[in-house]
Symmetry: C2
Subunit: 107 residues, 2 copies
DNA sequence: TATTTGTTCTATTATCTAGAATATATCTGG
DNA sequence: CCAGATATATTCTAGATAATAGAACAAATA
């Protein structure tokens, strides 16, 4: 299992934290809140799709709800490989930053 | 200032931790030690060069030493922008992982 | 049919990765 | 002392992969 990219990390965490509400639109909003700036639609769905292809996420289409129009949602969920990838990231981060002061002092 | 990629993060940290010994070869070795696997030459020098172009690192050629042959080394150092980028990464990581248990439990 | 919600598609740009090519220094034999 | 031989290190280049933007499309209700 390869190391995930930054945006993949952020998206995996968004899916984890949104739990049963994890579909495209709120995932994007969550990512935007995390980053503090706007993110394009493609910048979410392209890596989302790749994470599914790689087996770190699973996805399924939900039945339409009676809220107010709109296409049906595609929900996402972490697979056990996805969880493993996040754990691997925790480990790597710990190794990388172990000896770095927090916060980082002046040059 | 954009958010740095994973390999850029690892290289910035390697330069930080190597201090005055930060040139290509030991940077590569340090990265390999962090990751626990081999990394190609290009996988180091290409992002290193980009980090210089972006102003996160500075670099200068050293005089040849009298150790045993070899081309002169090119040393790298974090600029204040590079330090800022690392601080921004600490912040982002804190925001991203704040509510995630460590270690991450089962699915 | 208009409106709303949401996803898919596609093209461009940027980044990653591998390793061959190149550069430049000291060492060694005659 | 000079011509390879050897060692150390970086630069270059090309193909693969990933990021990003937003237009196009789909499907539901009003």
């Amino acid at each position: 299992m390869d190391i995930v990219t930054r945006i993949e990390e952020i998206i995996l965490l968004a899916v984890l934290q949104l739990g049963s509400r994890a579909y495209g639109v709120p995932i994007r909003e969550h990512v935007q809140a995390m980053l503090g700036h706007r993110v394009s639609i493609g910048a979410i769905y392209v890596p989302l799709d790749r994470l599914v292809r790689k087996g770190l996420l699973t996805s399924f289409e939900a039945e339409p709800t009676a809220e107010r129009g709109g296409r049906r949602k595609r929900y996402y969920k972490l697979s056990s490989e996805g969880l493993d990838a996040l754990r691997a990231l925790q480990d790597l981060h710990e190794r990388l930053w172990r000896d770095v002061p927090q916060p980082l002092g002046a040059g």
